[in-house]
């Protein structure tokens, strides 16, 4: 938001006397460039959509960017939801559970942690905060083996918890929430509430949280997308196909098609992939407003 406003101001101030034709020419070029980029970005998605209407041999023999037959779409849909006793639905539900729990949980923990760092002064606060920041740099792949051992030792391997618990930790979310608390919830307001006799939990839950809702949505979205797309963690900690999320399940189907070469179901997998990104698209479209505003308001103070 801020960036766009700034851009508009700059444009107006540098070219206050420019007449309409010139400005239209400029926006036409801008429009063409954006359109080009838009087509470029959406082309793979378009391919995914046209591929849904093909069977496997048409995948290679027909024009990639146009539809083939609605009956194949129905066939693909049926195969997708009935193959291996309809396990795709189970994977879909699992993904929703993993990503949902991760989004809600990490949002809450990040909000609480960020609140503590923002509003309370305690010994070692800065070094602790820096230590948390440093963990952002640790790639999740490097954590797979330790997480695997940890889950194995506490007996949670091969359960929902093995995927959910690591997903609750989101150091970047905590960092972001601290910025939001710093910017969105003035300490003076907190002090005033205390003077009025509000309890600490009331200050946090009822007074504070609504003021940083943009941050909450941002963190939740980040965690949701991260958990939704996570492949490596479930691969390592889960040993039953009924616990697979969509990423792992579809990848197994794909690999089976590649490895065995028999009865390949690539077009069904493509359809499954499209269905698997629908929740992300819905999440972004419905929450994107908060998300944008949230990022910007954090950025100003940060």
């Amino acid at each position: 938001m801020t960036a766009t406003q700034g851009f508009q101001e700059a444009k107006i101030s540098t070219a206050p006397t420019r007449q309409k034709p010139r400005r239209e020419g400029f926006s036409l070029l801008q429009f063409a460039l954006l359109l080009l980029f838009c087509v470029y970005s959406l082309l793979p998605l378009w391919w995914v959509i046209t591929t849904m209407t093909k069977d496997n041999s048409q995948l290679y023999s027909t024009f990639g960017l146009w539809f083939s037959s609605p009956s194949h779409f129905v066939d693909n849909l049926r195969t997708l939801f009935t193959r291996d006793d309809g396990i795709f639905v189970r994977w879909l539900i699992n993904s929703i559970i993993y990503a949902g729990a991760s989004a809600v949980g990490s949002m809450l923990f990040a909000a609480m942690g960020g609140y503590a760092f923002s509003k309370f002064n305690f010994r070692g606060r800065d070094s602790l905060f820096n230590a948390i920041l440093a963990t952002i740099m640790v790639p999740s792949t490097a954590l797979a083996l330790p997480i695997f051992l940890l889950m194995q030792n506490i007996g949670l391997i091969n359960t929902y918890w093995a995927v959910i618990l690591p997903g609750l930790v989101n150091p970047f979310g905590l960092y972001l929430m601290r910025l939001f608390w710093d910017a969105g919830f003035p300490t003076e307001l907190m002090d005033a509430a205390r003077v009025d006799g509000a309890s600490e939990s009331k200050i946090f839950w009822q007074l504070g949280l609504p003021l940083v809702s943009g941050g909450l949505v941002t963190v939740a979205l980040f965690s949701f997308v991260g958990a939704w797309n996570n492949f490596f963690l479930p691969l390592v900690v889960v040993n039953k196909d009924t616990l697979f999320p969509l990423t792992l399940g579809l990848s197994v189907w794909n690999q089976t098609s590649v490895s065995s070469g028999q009865d390949p179901i690539y077009t069904v997998i493509v359809l499954g992939a499209l269905i698997s990104i629908l929740p992300l698209i819905i999440a972004f479209l419905s929450l994107g407003r908060y998300w944008q505003g949230g990022l910007a308001s954090g950025a100003v103070k940060g």
Partner: protein, 441 residues
């Protein structure tokens, strides 16, 4: 009433038939454990759960839990993680031959000779045992499926250009030149998979080429061996003359060319024809045939190499290694399992008796049906018996595999001669192996 009686009689008969075919040719397997045992099995064989139902019927004490991860890098990462962690690995896992040394090197694989696996060597095609027991002592796995090499070709195109099926590489080169002239270059006679090292290695393997050799604690690596040089120079020549293409395997371009009659032959493993039937569907159906791999010397017995295939390992973490060994042997030697794996997943057997199973010879079903009803399994069975026994892989093979494409790319761009490409492949892989602590010459 009569109908029911007839039906049950038929049912009995078919049951008896099933029972007799299931046990007729099977060797005597090791003793089953006395108490109840659960085995965890990681495998990407399609329909394995159904195959295993017959096992649990025969061995009610042993329960099998299957995890299918589809194969490929992710499957190996998971297995590697569990082995490194020291817990969480399955009892039995499917591993491709080329990756066996890498896993054996981690110390995570049980030596099955301790559980009597050595007694079953005689039931397998000799080269497959060479893959799982390179030194002839320790046995790291039980061979499962194989990919011996043969040539697939378009019968219609060869007839159209009036060419006999080439029996030698000299014939093949001549035919390639003829097809280029007669088709004006629109039809390629063959295809060089420039990104598949194991494909290329199989061709050198057929000529007796050796790429790795274990010697005590050290290794010898010879990626630029004489056979490799011969094979690569031969193909590079055909490529430069425009008689042979370099389409990427399993790509849309490749299937388009193959389906549209723009490609006359290719060298494919035993599991390849199933992929042709699956990916081409009705396009060019019935026009393909299979023939033995062209030979370097006329009139010699058919020699071949292998691409792909896999084995079943037992991990050192297994609490029931005897039962796990029994399962791995049963899965790859019982005629019911080998038949089911062929029918469900197109797994070309590693066992001697498996190659002669009636199911392989069925020509009314794919892949033979797609190949004009020719019994292509017999072509591939002959190929398997002609695969050189002494062929080893090395733990750093994954790097060698990736590095191949890089060097061949330079060769195709004209920056390297074939010999230079192989020398660079050898040098860079050697440097990598040394960096990773292997004693290699």
């Amino acid at each position: 009433m009569k109908k029911t009686a007839l039906k049950s009689a038929a049912l009995l008969l078919s049951l008896a038939l099933a029972a007799s075919t299931a046990h007729a040719a099977d060797p005597a397997f090791p003793k089953a454990p006395s108490g109840p045992v659960t085995l965890e099995v990681w495998s990407w064989v399609p329909g394995l759960d159904k195959t295993v139902a017959a096992f649990t019927k025969q061995y009610p004490n042993i329960k099998i839990k299957i995890l299918n991860l589809g194969g490929g890098p992710a499957t190996y990462t998971k297995l590697q993680t569990a082995i490194k962690a020291g817990s969480g690995a399955p009892d039995v896992a499917q591993v491709e031959y080329g990756f066996l040394p890498a896993f054996a090197d981690t110390g995570g694989l049980a030596d099955l000779s301790k559980y009597g696996a050595g007694d079953y060597k005689k039931y397998f095609v000799p080269w497959t045992w060479g893959q799982v027991s390179p030194d002839g002592q320790a046995v790291y796995a039980i061979p499962q499926d194989t990919g011996p090499f043969a040539m697939v070709y378009r019968d219609d195109l060869l007839k159209k250009y009036n060419i006999a099926v080439p029996k030698t590489w000299a014939d093949y080169a001549k035919a390639a030149a003829t097809v280029k002239t007669k088709s004006g270059g629109s039809v390629k006679f063959g295809n060089f998979y420039s990104t598949f090292a194991p494909w290329f290695m199989a061709l050198a393997w057929a000529d007796g080429g050796q790429f790795f050799q274990r010697q005590g604690d050290g290794w010898t690596q010879t990626l630029n061996n004489a056979s490799a040089k011969k094979v690569l120079n031969y193909w590079n020549d055909l490529i430069k003359k425009g008689q042979v293409g370099t389409l990427a395997g399993f790509s849309a371009d490749y299937w388009n060319a193959a389906g549209a009659g723009k490609l006359a032959t290719n060298m494919e493993a035993a599991w390849g024809p199933g992929g042709y039937a699956g990916s081409l569907g009705t396009k060019s159906a019935g026009m393909w045939r299979a023939a033995p791999l062209p030979q370097w010397t006329a009139g010699s017995s058919v020699k071949s190499g292998n691409w792909g295939g896999s084995s079943n390992v037992v991990t050192t973490q297994s609490k029931n290694p005897e039962a796990a060994t029994l399962f791995a042997l049963w899965l790859n030697l019982s005629s019911s399992a080998v038949t089911a794996d062929w029918n469900n997943g197109g797994l070309f057997p590693a066992s001697d008796a498996g190659l002669a199973l009636p199911a392989l010879a069925v020509t009314s079903k794919n892949p033979s049906k797609f190949f004009g009803g020719q019994n292509i399994s017999s072509v591939y069975a002959q190929a398997s018996r002609g695969v050189n026994v002494n062929f080893q892989w090395a733990p750093w093979f994954p790097f060698v595999n990736d590095n191949f494409s890089k060097q061949i790319d330079k060769m195709l761009k004209g920056q390297f001669t074939p010999n230079q490409a192989l020398d660079a492949w050898q040098a860079e892989s050697l440097a990598y192996a040394k960096q990773n602590g292997f004693t290699v010459k």
